[in-house]
Amino acid sequence: MWKDMLADVIGQTLEGFRQEFAEFGPRLLAMTIVLVAGVVFAALLRLVLRALLRRLGFDRFAERAGLPHALGKFGFTGQASGAVAAVTAFVVLAFFVLLALGSLDPLFARELVSRALAYLPQVLVAAALIALGAIVAGFVRRGVLIAAVNRGLPSARLLAGFAQSALLILFAAMALEHLGVGRQIILVSFTILFGGVVFALSLAFGLAGRDLARELLERLARKGEEPREDPLRHI
C-alpha cells in the first residue's frame, strides 16, 4: 500500500512540476529569446550608430568641443562616437531586459516599465547635463591651458585640469540633484569637496606661487602708472 502512496505522491509531484514547467517553460524561453534578440539588436545598433556618427563627422565635432578629454575623466577612452554608440546600445539593452522580465511576470514588468518611463525624462535631462558639462569643461580646459602657456605659467596643465574638474563636478552634482539621488549628501559633499579644493589651491598658490602672486600684485599696482611701450612691436 505504501508503495502505491509513494507512487501517487511522486506522480503528483512530477505532474505538478510538469504543469508548472509547461506554464513557466514558454515564459523562460520567451525571456531567453527576448534577451538574445536584445543583445543582438543592441550590438547591431552600436555598430551602425558608431559608423553613422563617424560618417557624419561627430568625432571631429566632439574633438573640437573637447569631449574625448572630458570623457576620459569618466574612464571612457577611444573616440566619442564609440562612447555615444555604447551608451545608446546599453539603454536599448536595458529596455530589452525589462521586456524579458515582462515575459516572466507581466504585472511586475508593467509596473517596472511604467516607473522607468516616468523616470526617463529626468534621466535624459541628467544625461544632457553631463554631456553639456563635458563639452563646456573641455572647452574651458583648453582655453585655460592655452592662456596659461601663453602667459608662461609653469603650472598650466594643473590650472587647466582644475578648471575642467571643477566644472565636471559641478555638472555631475547638478545631474545627480536632478535625478533626486541623495540630495543632501550630494550638496554637502559638493560643498566640502569644492571648498577643500579651493582651500588647497589657495595654500598651494600661497606657498608655491609666491613669485607669481607678487608679479600679479605688482602688475595690479602698475595699472595706474603711465603706459610703457612694449619693446617689441609685433605688427
Binding site: R64, G143, V149, E229, L232, R233
Partner: protein
Amino acid sequence: MSPPLEARVEARLDEIGTAELLVGIPSYNNARTIGHVVRAAASGLAKHFPDCRAVIVNSDGGSTDGTQELVASVNAATPRAILVRHPLTTAHKIITPYHGVPGKGSAFRTIFAIAKRLGVRACAVVDSDLRSISPAWIELLLGPVVHEGFDYVAPLYLRHKYDGTITNSIVYPLTRALYGREVRQPIGGDFGFSGRLAAHYLDREVWDSDVARFGIDIWMTTTALADGFEVCESFLGAKIHDPKDPGSDLAGMFVQVVSSVFDLMHVYRDRWEGVASAQKVPLFGFPHGVGLEPVSVDVERMISIFRQATRDLREVWEAALLPSDLSEVVALSAADPFRFPDPLWVRVVYGFAAAYEHVRLPREQLLRSLVPLYLGRTASFVLETRTCGAEEVEQRIHALADEYVAQKPHLRERWRG
C-alpha cells in the same frame, strides 16, 4: 551701402559740394597727437596740392578727451610759413562721429562714404596717433593716385629689424605668396587710394563683420590686390606712434591680425589658388636710412614659452599640424642652438590656415595656440640675425617670403583637407 551721417555733417557736405582730395583721420581719444596730424595733413595738402579742393575728415569713435574739439580748433591753412606758395583754397574740415560697430573699420566706412559723396579723385588715411607724420606723407600717399593713376598706395616704413615681427613672419610673406604682389607693409595703417576704390570698398558688405572692428588695414590691401586694382608703395620713412597701452596682450592682437588674413583667404580662395609667383609693385619716394632706436628682445622668455608649449599644447597642435611637422616642432625644443627653420615655419602657418578654414578647433583657441610657435620662430629669427645689418635682415625676410611661395602646393593640399 553708405552709413547714416549726422544732419550737421550732411549740411556741411552740401555746403562743400564737391572736392578732389580727401585726407581721413580716424580717432579715439588721441588729443595728445591729433593736432600735429591735422596740421601735417593741412600743410601737405596746401604745399603739394595747392590748386585742389581738399577736405580733411576726422571720423571719431566718441572720444572723451577733447579730440574733436582739438581738431575743430586747428587752423587747417596753417602753418603758412612753411608753404612754398599760398594755397588757392583752404582745406575744409569735417568732424563726424561714425556709426555702426565700434572700431577703425567703421571710422573708415564713414570716410569712404564722404569721399563718394564729394566725388573725390584721391583719398589718404593716416593714423591719429602718429608722431612722425610730415606734410610730405600727404604727397607720397596722394601723389601716385593723382599723378600716376594708381588705385592703392601702401606705405613702406623704415623700421628696426625686429619691429613688425607678425608682419615679417606671417602677414607680408603670406599675402605676397597668396596674391602674387609684393606689398611689404600690408597692415601699415596709412594708405592712399582712388575715389573709385573708395566706392568699391563702400559697396562691399563687410561692415557688420570683424573688418569694421579691427581688420580694416589688411582687408583694404587684400581687396585692392585680389580685385585687380593698380597697387604701388610709397616710402614714408620712420613711423613713430604714441605709446600703446601695455595692458593690450600679444595673444589678442595676434588673433585679430592672423584671423583677418585667414578670413580673407576664405573669401578670395579662387583668386589665390592659381597664383604661383610674386612680383614687386612700383615704389615711390626716396628710401633712405635713418637712426632707429635699438629694440631689446627677451629671447629667453620667448623660448621658454615655446618649450613649455611643446610639452603642454601638443594635443591642440595635433588639430593643425601633420604628425611629421608636429614631431619636428617638438624636437626643436631640445635643439642647441635654438633654430626654427623657414620651411617648417611655413608648413606650420599653412597647417593652421587650413585648420582655421575647416574649423578643426574653436578658431580663437586655435590661433591663440599658434602664439607660442610664433614666439619660438621670432626668438629663432632674433638669434639668427643678432649680428646682421638691416639689409641682410631684409634679405632673410625675403628668403622666407620665397619659401612661402615655394610651398604653396602644400597649402593647396592642406586647404582641400
